[in-house]
């Protein structure tokens, strides 16, 4: 079993499937009178939250408590952190207290990676900046699988502010690992650059790398003389790698077009209406209306008209398709109230599944075996 869950990319298909299967077992607990397992008795789980997120924190807290772990909630407000303590010093404090797992929510992308380098316990990413939110992706995958019976070959449209969405990144990575086909939909301003390569699980689809020992050309450059011992320790990924000439600037496609899926990376479309009839799942992302101040789109009204999911669009979906949203929703912006409340919506189910998925993660990371 892996030690940390920092990114959905930490999970291979086998591990991800094990987590989903375990989550299914955990879900059966919810129907019992005593919703508790003794598995993590005596273990300490710290919830280290640098952002307010009552939903996620409560979900992790419930998950840890149902496994009988001791839970310490450490929120940045009113703590040593608000007095200027660094993440590293906080990490060393938690280390000294013997935390077996630290669940971290943080506004800076990559904070869980940093934390994992300073503590011995497991680190679980509960959302870092605009990077990832892997347990959300797990609960989403769990929800899809329980509603539709499979993930392999499932067609999933993720719609909205992909650029700033940690939910989208984790979902693309996890769903690709599990064999689903993801299409990202949104205005071009909110689709990150080079997304097909960037979020491809297949490293060979990613860009050009320098070859180890690759020296500059020039007639008098003795190729071997300097290259022999060239940097190996810096990072194999950065200096070693593959050749091939990927162009630096975007793989953005024609409006309305769909491309990219072949190599494991997500496809991209700017036209929601054309994507809906071929989708088994449509996942709406929260779009902050403040984004229009940064000219990502002209107005909330225009956004909603082009990319919002209303009843008219809902009817374009196949009969069996489901509608998901990680919450909290902007009703009337990315999703119409009647869509959110329709029987196709899994929004409340996602919350319940969140506890089961997080129980599975804690159980497996902490060596429940």
């Amino acid at each position: 079993m892996i030690k940390h869950l920092r990114s959905a990319a930490d999970l291979d298909a086998e591990t991800a499937t094990l987590i989903l299967d375990t989550a299914a077992e955990m879900a059966t607990l919810a129907g019992r009178e005593v919703k508790k397992l003794p598995t993590l008795r005596g273990r300490t789980v710290v919830n280290l939250f640098y952002e307010d997120s009552t939903r996620t924190r409560i979900s992790f807290e419930a998950a840890a408590k149902r496994l009988s772990a001791d839970v310490i909630n450490f929120s940045a407000k009113g703590s040593s952190v608000s007095k200027g303590e660094s993440l590293k010093d906080t990490a060393l404090t938690l280390q000294a207290m013997g935390a077996d797992a630290v669940v971290i929510r943080h506004p800076a992308s990559g904070a869980p990676h940093r934390l994992a380098s300073w503590v011995d316990g497991s680190v679980v990413n509960a959302g870092d900046g605009t990077h990832e939110h892997p347990t959300q992706a797990l609960l989403d995958a769990y929800t899809m699988r329980s509603r539709l019976g499979r993930l392999d070959g499932l067609r999933v449209a993720i719609v909205g502010d992909v650029l700033h969405s940690r939910v989208a990144r984790s979902n693309v990575l996890l769903l690709s690992t599990l064999g689903a086909q993801v299409t990202l939909v949104g205005p071009p301003t909110l689709i990150p650059i080079d997304v097909a390569a960037g979020l491809s699980g297949d490293a060979s689809r990613r860009g050009d790398r320098l070859v180890p020992g690759e020296a500059a050309g020039g007639p008098s450059a003795p190729a071997g003389s300097a290259g022999g011992d060239e940097p190996r320790a810096v990072s194999p990924a950065a200096i070693a790698g593959l050749s091939g000439d990927a162009s630096r600037r975007g793989d953005r496609l024609v409006p309305g077009g769909v491309a990219g899926a072949a190599g494991g990376g997500p496809a991209v479309s700017y036209d929601l209406d054309s994507v809906l009839p071929d989708s088994d799942v449509v996942m709406m992302l929260r779009v902050q209306s403040e984004r229009m101040q940064d000219s990502y789109f002209p107005s909330a009204r225009e956004y909603s008209r082009r990319y919002g999911l209303d009843m008219r669009r809902l009817r374009r979906l196949p009969e069996h398709a489901i509608v998901m949203h990680p919450g909290p929703m902007n009703r009337g912006m990315e999703i119409a109230p009647e869509v959110a409340d329709s029987p196709r919506s899994t929004i409340v189910e996602q919350v319940a599944n969140g506890v089961s998925a997080r129980m599975a993660v804690l159980y497996l990371l902490l060596g429940g075996k």
Binding site: A108, R169, I193, D194, S220, S225, A226, A233, R248
Partner: protein, 423 residues
């Protein structure tokens, strides 16, 4: 003054000979009795390296570096002159501050510390600093830069380019269109997309360079472009030079060797501004350095205290130390092209900065004995705790690089002997 004879040294890769240093100069007569003998067999002599882009942090952040510790690091890296950037606290935007830095450099006495003056008051980009007063001060400032910030206002940039013509000054631009890099953390591309870090697009650099070469052409001024980092910038410069625009450009060692993939660790030791770019950018920069589209390798030595790097990526300060690893990195990239290395790391920067006593011809008797002895056969694995700099933020920890600086001489006086700073 002690005389020295360097036995069996190779000048820029030529056949071994003895090099005599007397009274601070290269001499063509025998050394005479009492001269100190340096066994220089297998060593290559280069004119002392000149860095156009060094952050010495004093005044203001003496916990990260001082003029003295930075001078020691420079000498250890084979440098005999460094140009100290203006983004100190207080900013080097007055004759008083540049004279202070200049004087501290003289007191340290290990390298010539040539202060760079700020272009605008407080680096704020609103009002010209007293460029003339800095030029006529004891520090005799010739390079002006708001480095760390771009002189983004086109009218102000035009005025600065024009104004410094009166004293043969040059504006060194940090090319970064600020509106395109708000909140930027790393190169914008597939890696930033994967890591969820706000992108710093190549075009933010290229657009400013394109504008500035046109402005410099229009007013007939000199422009120097700091730390060029993209293939697109190279193309803009290539065209401008072909047209005869008076533009020079520098590239850092790290942009010649490292790529944006390193950010995957989220370790801010790899965070730098401009950011590490892609492999194709690295290749274009290497070729441009060979072709002469890029004139100079400059370190952008940027020491930072531990707490400014041992933190979340977004909260870390950008920058890497570079003085002590610059020549080894360039050797690993270019190979033993000594003539080219001397041009890009000594002569060209000395010309741009107007440092007459540097970048001289070591084969000519009477030249200042300002030189560096390198052992090209040595290999060293970088250990941050071995660095002479006060800071440890090197991206090369654990990397084995070719070349070792054995000795550095400034006007006939050794500043480094046997790889150790003499004082």
């Amino acid at each position: 003054m002690t005389a020295y004879v360097m036995k069996g040294v190779s000048l820029l890769g030529a056949a071994p000979r003895d090099l005599v240093v007397r009274d601070g100069r290269i001499a063509d007569e025998p050394p005479g009795a009492g001269a100190e003998v340096i066994d220089a067999a297998g060593l290559v002599a280069l004119p002392g390296l000149v860095d156009l882009h060094t952050h010495l942090r004093e005044p203001g952040r003496e916990d990260a570096e001082t003029v003295e510790t930075g001078s020691r690091a420079a000498a250890a890296g084979g440098y005999t002159a460094v140009c100290a950037m203006a983004n100190t606290s207080p900013v080097a935007d007055t004759a008083g501050v540049v004279e202070q830095v200049w004087r501290l450099g003289r007191e340290a006495g290990l390298v010539d510390v040539q202060p760079i003056g700020a272009v605008t008051v407080g680096l704020a980009g609103r009002q010209l600093a007293e460029l003339g007063a800095m030029a006529t001060s004891a520090a005799q400032v010739r390079i002006f830069s708001d480095d760390g910030h771009c002189v983004a206002d086109p009218r102000l940039m035009r005025r600065a380019l024009e104004y410094v013509k009166a004293f043969d000054g040059v504006i060194a631009q940090h090319a970064e269109e600020p509106r395109l890099t708000e909140g930027a953390q790393m190169h914008e591309g597939e890696v930033s997309t994967r890591l969820g870090l706000t992108g710093w697009p190549a075009v933010a650099e290229e657009a400013i360079i394109a504008r500035d070469v046109l402005l410099a052409e229009h007013v007939g001024s000199r422009l120097h472009v700091c730390h060029v980092s993209t293939a697109g910038s190279v193309e803009v410069l290539r065209q401008a030079k072909a047209r005869g625009v008076r533009v020079t450009a520098e590239v850092t060692p790290h942009h010649l060797l490292l790529t944006d993939e390193l950010a995957t660790s989220y370790d801010p030791v790899y965070k730098v501004n401009p950011p590490l770019r892609t492999a194709s950018d690295v290749r274009a920069l290497r070729q441009a350095l060979i072709d002469g589209v890029i004139d100079v390798v400059a370190t952008d030595h940027a020491p930072h205290a531990v707490e400014d790097k041992e933190c979340e990526w977004a909260y870390a300060r950008p920058g890497m130390v570079g003085l002590e690893t610059a020549l080894p990195v360039v050797l690993s990239v270019l190979g033993e092209q000594w003539e080219l290395i001397a041009e890009r790391m000594s002569r060209a920067p000395a010309r741009i900065a107007g440092l007459a006593g540097h970048g001289g011809d070591l084969a000519a008797a009477g030249s200042p004995a300002t030189l560096t002895l390198v052992d090209p056969a040595a290999r060293r694995t970088v250990d941050p705790s071995d660095l002479v700099s006060r800071s440890r933020n090197t991206p090369y920890a654990g990397t084995t690089l070719p070349g070792r600086i054995v000795a550095t001489f400034l006007r006939g006086e050794p500043t480094v002997l046997d790889g150790k700073v003499v004082r």
